[in-house]
Amino acid sequence: MYRVAADIGGTFTDFVIEDQKSGEVRIGKVPTTPDNPARGILNGVNQLIEDPKDIEFFVHGTTVGLNAFLERKGARVLLVMTAGVSDTYTIARGHREELYKLHYRKPKQLVPRKDVHEVVERLGPDGAVVTPLDINSLDPIIEKVKAENIPAVAICLLHAYANPAHEKEVEDVLSRELPGVSISLSHSVAPEWREVERASSTVMDAYVAPVVELYLATLKKEFLDVGMNQTIHVMRSNGGVMTDVHASRHPITTLLSGPVGGSIGGVELSKSTGLKNLLCVDMGGTSFDLSLVVDGQPELSNETVLQGLPLLMSIINIDTVGAGGGSLAWVENGGLRVGPQSAGSVPGPVCYGRGGTQPTVTDANLFLGRLGQESLLNGDMTLDMDSTAKAFEKLGEAIGLSATELAEGMIAIGNAKMADAMRTITVGRGIDPRDFTLVAFGGAGPMHAVELARELDIKQILIPNFPGTFSAWGMLQSDIRHDFAATHYAISDDVDISQIAVLFDGMLNDGSKTLTEEGVERSQMEFMRSVDLRYVGQEYTINVPLGEDLDLNGAIDAFHDLYQARYGHALHGSPVEIINLRLTAVGRLERASVSTAEKPASQDPLASHRDIIFNGQSYHAPIYKREALPNAEMFQSPAVVEETSATTIIPPGYTFSIDDIGNLLIQAEENAQ
């Protein structure tokens, strides 16, 4: 029996297949089929697994919702808000993201103003009814949805986080009058205060709902047709998984389903290696994604912004900068710049021979020998060294550098940019990166990992098994996870703990009910409480764990300490505001045992040698085949480790070895710079 994960990317769908008994892992890649991603998955399953009935657990990261949003191909949504204030959605808080732009336009909302409607009702901040709901004011809305065949309705009423009664009443009426129309309610999507952010989240849910529902139904049907009748699991933005049933009910939670796999993979690596703090970096062609594992835990946020649109949802913190193998070099007033523009896949880097003439970071890697001419796709793609060299000479002349200096310089600038992003998520938050191990994956990550680590004075680097499909592997390591929240505003010196207990009990009920629906046994359930705190009058909150005993004072002490650690000062003894209560419900999933199988010792790991330039000096470096490297034997850099999905470059000054679970561990030598 197998556990299978599929990560649907823009070009390829990556597969990781785990044999449940032996723990053996296989990887595979099939082209993504954007018109119907379910077909790509099925192609992969058919190619890689003899009998789909042998699949016991299937999880995948879907970009269906995200793509519908990015390409603006979601459903037409009608938004209903409280009478008098429905323009708040369109005004979107009135701020400017770019301050030196006379020609500024706000990010375009998903719902045009003509489709935003009002219902007569009003609640106060405590949830008390100020104006009763006037059901008749829904009539024109019902007529319009019918007449114009609008497939989705989002409802966001003022103060619904405090009292959802009016939203529920509206839902009752609309679902009765408008069968088949998808309805999203703000108190269910994001039960937190701030009407603009909540409305925006609810609209997003409604916008992707029909697309995600259709996709999941199609996938399920096609799976059934080939005899696989197991539940389909979907990765969610918070790093947990959920069943397709739940995903259809809360489509917004699938939005960042893809990239979180890598972060969860990081958490699992932390468990299996005992390394508590990991800085995970995923470098592909156009972007560089960073996330942290601190003390074995992923970092979560409860809010994010996508293309300028705010979303209240639980999400793994992933920072992205525009730097990758495709980043282009250019000259401005005698200064050399790298990125953020990317050559993309067309024309792509010069060395791909598809018409690119401007050098990219990938070209620099080839020119310096870091990337072999036959390294990509196991030699199925040969790279064009001649054109690459010409491109470097030409640009080098323009700026007074030799071709080698330019190539090394481009990598240095690209690395420095990525390192600045790494500093921002560590040093910028009061975290010392030297306490971390760098975990690098993605197609280009292992190529730059060691030099990035050196920029931050990180001594240890880990390249996991199958770095090119690490995100898919991470998905297999996840648990079922649901996050619940309730806004409860109070000041620390005037708290009614019984009210807080009631709210937590309510969330606990919801949590165990949801987990039960997802087939989780009670013994496998776990619940974590936390509370968002801040000093009186502040805006940003810090999320602090809260024990089952609801020891708020303990949590407040922890808050002062966290604040001190993050900002270098704290106001011990000052009153603290409680904003939101949160409950995380986790259903533990069984894993395959970790493979520790000994490898055949017969194969010679040394494949060849190649001339590689580091710091202007050429080294005749050994090229190793990763799958043939024996466990626990120490090797010396400079060296290159090649495998199907990636190439790891190790500059002088490091030792490296394969640990007992197959990770490539690279260590700076004591006296290395």
């Binding site: 808080r93 009135g94 732009k101 106060g124 100020v130 009058g537 270098g568």
Partner: protein, 554 residues
């Protein structure tokens, strides 16, 4: 050697300067206590070199652009560079040094590396209350002494030790002493972040390399700027307008602006503008320079980060004793109204030779409503609700102006969510929306202003600062002007009054305040507006059918 660093090192160091400034800004915003900082982004940070020139600056409040640099240089002129000791933290808010109102406090953290002073991590942020005569910010001050405490450069820390006497003094002279100290420490945290990261950069590259890279970066910026100016035809370009009043009388306050372009050099001359007024629309010369820089930056290389090479081609003339170079004891609380107008006028003056870069004028000012009182439901606790209002921006060649956007001298200010506002203050926001028909008609129309209706559920006193009803947002190249702002107050007994400025007017629970902000100016002849755009405006209720018929039926 003239250029001992290669372009690669220079680029790495240039990115690092900007990244350091971003991190300083993040530290400040995330640890600040007052919403005006973390929501209004009424703050700015800059990393400066040993002579106070900008190495890196994050995009904070535009009006503080380049101003921190001048502050450090003025303090050095006063006390010498050795005044800045290791472990010191210096703060100041003197309007005649910093240029802005007393609520804006500049904090300077000198940076030492290997025992040598090599730079400054500086920030400025708006503090909620610095002890003015009225809570928040008075609108009727006529001397700076009424506007709060005025601090010449003062040390809050000496050699790493807090000056407890000074800190206690600060705390006791503010209505929100805890928040004041919290914001001071947020600024110190930003300073520490800048200091740590700058020292780490020096550890890696050494001083000589970093300075050589700096020189190269400044050269690049200065060169880019001169090229852009050289492309503008030589000549003299003028525009003028007026503020409604100084808040004390009804007399307009004229602003006159002359831009001279000569080769690769530009001069902004404010001669002919009003003499300093009794009311608080004055500012120090430093702030006028900043505003001129913001205006300049809107049209000249807006995407290039600011550094010590930026603005070397710009000269600003602000006559002494005018509203733009005010002297003691001129009041400065509402200094930004004059500067917002200055910026709009600069764009207007240059529109003649930069028609595609320009835009119609925007609604013009922060349009501030302040409500303060003692909340009966919270045991008489003091509340101060201060909020700016969004309005319409001007259309430009290719697009309509934005509806309901915060004004040009504000940062990325966000309005308060109604749900947060109502939890915090005994006030209900009954209506908040887009004010149809308020943007000026044009081939590309001006953006619409906003309207809000507040119901007081507790007694409160109201201060208003609404401007630009005299010089409303003008259009360009045939575009029409936007509508002016309006405020209507209806007492519980049904009587109403209109005002645009007022100070601490007492109002009873049950009073309704309706505020409307102006729209932006249109661009181009309305007769040329595409029919489908006119239709879409009607469908989306941005323009009423009647108004569309008047403006667009040719």
């Amino acid at each position: 050697m003239s250029n001992p660093v290669n372009p690669i090192t220079t680029e790495i160091i240039r990115n690092a300067f900007n990244s350091i400034a971003e991190d300083m800004n993040a530290a400040l915003i995330r640890s600040a206590y007052t919403p005006i900082i973390y929501e209004g982004k009424d703050c700015a940070v800059a990393l400066l070199d040993d002579r106070g020139e900008v190495l890196g600056q994050s995009l904070g409040l535009p009006l503080f652009l380049g101003n921190l640099s001048l502050c450090v240089q003025i303090v050095a002129e006063m006390h010498g560079w050795d005044y800045f000791g290791e472990g010191d933290v210096i703060f100041l808010n003197d309007s005649y040094i910093a240029g802005t109102h007393l609520n804006d406090v500049t904090v300077i953290v000198p940076i030492f590396w290997k025992g040598k002073r090599i730079g400054f991590a500086t920030s400025r942020a708006h503090w909620l209350d610095v002890g003015a005569k009225d809570a928040g910010q008075p609108t009727d001050a006529h001397e700076i002494y009424q506007e709060g405490m005025r601090w010449a450069p003062t040390k809050a820390y000496r050699a790493g030790e807090p000056c407890e006497d000074i800190l206690t003094f600060l705390k006791r002279n503010s209505r929100f002493g805890d928040a004041l100290l919290g914001d001071l420490h947020a600024q110190i945290a930003a300073g520490s972040t800048g200091k740590d990261r700058f020292c780490a950069l020096l550890d890696r590259f050494g001083l000589a390399t970093v300075w050589a890279a700096r020189d190269d970066i400044f050269r690049q910026s200065a060169e880019m700027e001169r090229q852009t100016i050289a492309a503008i035809p030589d000549g003299t370009y003028r525009a003028d307008g007026a503020l409604d009043s100084d808040g004390l009388t009804d007399d307009p306050v004229p602003v006159k602006l002359t831009v001279t372009v000569e080769g690769d050099h530009m001069t902004v001359d404010l001669s002919g503008s009003a003499a300093q007024t009794r009311g608080a629309v004055n500012c120090g010369a430093t702030q006028t320079v900043s505003a001129a820089r913001v205006a300049f930056k809107l049209l000249i290389n807006p995407k290039r980060p600011v550094d010590g090479g930026t603005f070397t081609a710009l000269e600003v003339i602000a006559p002494e004793g005018s509203i733009f170079n005010a002297q003691e004891p001129a009041a400065c609380s509402w200094y930004f109204s004059s500067l917002g107008l200055l910026i709009d006028l600069f764009v207007k003056a240059m529109s003649e030779v930069m028609p595609t870069d320009a835009a119609g004028a925007h609604y013009g000012d922060s349009m501030v409503l302040i409500l303060t009182g003692y909340d009966d439901a919270k045991n008489g606790e003091l509340f101060v609700a201060v909020e700016a209002n969004t309005g319409g921006w001007g259309g430009w060649d290719g697009s309509d102006g934005q509806d309901c956007l915060i004004n040009n001298v504000n940062g990325s200010f966000r309005d308060y969510p109604i749900e947060v506002y109502e939890n915090r203050y005994p006030i209900r926001i009954q209506k908040y929306g887009i004010r149809a028909d308020s943007g000026g008609a044009g081939k590309f129309r001006g953006g619409n202003g906003s309207y809000r209706e507040y119901l007081l559920t507790n007694d409160a006193s109201m201060s208003l600062w609404f401007e630009r009803s005299h010089t409303t947002a003008w259009g360009l190249f045939g575009g029409q002007a936007g509508k002016p702002p309006e405020v209507v107050v209806t007492h519980p007994d049904g009587n109403e009054f209109r005002a645009l400025k007022s100070n601490a007017t007492p109002l009873k629970a049950g009073t309704v305040i309706e505020v409307k902000t102006g729209g932006g100016g249109g661009y181009g002849d309305p007769a040329e507006r595409a029919a489908d755009l006119v239709q879409a405006d009607i469908e989306n209720h941005y323009v009423s059918t009647a108004a569309a018929q008047t403006a667009y039926s040719s």
